[in-house]
């Protein structure tokens, strides 16, 4: 019997491509966000509001991952910006190589902010680095207040939590304070926003914060 030592990460290949994406973003001064949530929490809806709010303020491009359809990309097609649809063909998450392919379709000179809408899933996308600056996790009020405890890896690995569907609070048993407390127990560094993609309430706070982050990245790039 002989033993061959390997000692390497199973996802090392993905991590290597993710690092290539990250260098690309850094070199081009692109702020890349990986948008994650359960199916239907409102990733595409929040994108619709955010793109409208940031129109003329930040040069934006969008990559949308979907298991099968291009419906989400069609919803955003009225915006005059690059919308790139990725179909994962059944896979429950985006991988770095798919995103890398998509980057060939954006003009880095014309991009300051890149949204990557991941496949609706609170588990798998947390293992796959895409090279993003940060993950933004959306949890909607109709999902209750215990999602952070049930899916801690996603909340721990995100920088921002957006609590969406606040307009539906009166119809749910979701306790906002409890949701915040649970999320901060998993990750005390989370920046938290509350939004409704029906009324648009809270979208401005999120967008102002985001614009500031993008500017800091772009300036760092100019001065570097």
């Amino acid at each position: 019997m002989s033993i061959k030592t390997i000692e390497r990460k199973v996802l090392q290949k993905n991590d290597e491509v993710a690092n290539q994406n990250r260098s690309f973003f850094d070199k081009q001064g692109i702020f890349a966000l990986n948008l994650v949530s359960s199916p239907g929490s409102g990733k595409t809806s929040l994108l619709e509001w955010t793109l409208k709010e940031l129109e003329g303020r930040v040069k934006t491009a969008v990559v949308i991952g979907d298991v099968q359809t291009s419906l989400d990309a069609e919803r955003l097609s009225s915006f005059d910006l690059p919308i790139i649809q990725l179909v994962t063909n059944g896979s429950c998450h985006l991988e770095a190589a798919l995103v890398k392919d998509a980057l060939a379709d954006i003009n880095p000179e014309e991009t300051e902010l890149l949204f990557i809408e991941n496949v609706g899933n609170l588990v798998c996308p947390s293992s796959f680095d895409l090279g993003e600056e940060m993950k933004v996790v959306i949890s909607s009020t109709v999902e209750g207040d215990d999602k952070p405890l049930k899916y801690p890896a996603m909340f721990r690995n995100s920088k921002v939590l957006i609590i969406n569907k606040t307009d539906l609070l009166p119809y749910t048993n979701c306790d906002l304070d409890q949701l915040r407390t649970n999320a901060l127990k998993i990750n005390p560094d989370l920046t938290i926003f509350e939004t409704s993609c029906v009324s648009g309430e809270g979208v401005d706070d999120w967008c102002n914060w985001l614009e500031k982050q993008v500017m800091e990245k772009t300036w760092k790039n100019v001065s570097a």
């Binding site: 002989s2 390497r8 199973v10 996802l11 293992s127």
Partner: protein
């Protein structure tokens, strides 16, 4: 849910490290899976069995060691095992902690039986 894709990656990496002869003699693949890695060991085990079936390495078994979640506290410096529902240092109650172990999805080594000569 992505255990099958992890299993396929494990098989690919093992294949890259072995000659065709060695692949047929592979008996064990040892992996370390962190408790905080989102991988469910049972699902990885069945995913592996499904994926390895019919390949040159189909006699190989997957041996999974589960690594607990450990954090190091930035206030008191202690390393403690915690459950992934509350990232607080059990020693001093600070929430300024870093995960030091429990995230890993690592392939450790491969066990090969000696070829039978003569």
């Amino acid at each position: 849910m992505h255990e099958l894709s992890i299993a396929k990656n494990i098989i690919r990496i093992a294949g890259e490290h072995l000659s065709p002869d060695e692949q047929a003699l592979l008996t064990k693949i040892r992996v370390r899976i962190g408790k905080f890695s989102t991988i469910v060991p049972d699902l990885l085990q069945s995913g592996f069995e499904a994926a390895v079936d019919g390949t040159a390495m189909e006699n190989a078994k997957l041996e999974i060691t589960v690594i607990p979640l450990r954090v190091q506290c930035n206030s008191c410096g202690e390393v403690s095992e915690i459950e992934p529902v509350d990232f607080t240092c059990p020693v001093c109650c600070s929430n300024d902690v870093d995960v030091v172990e429990g995230n890993e999805i690592m392939i450790e080594n491969l066990e090969i039986t000696e070829p039978i000569n003569h």
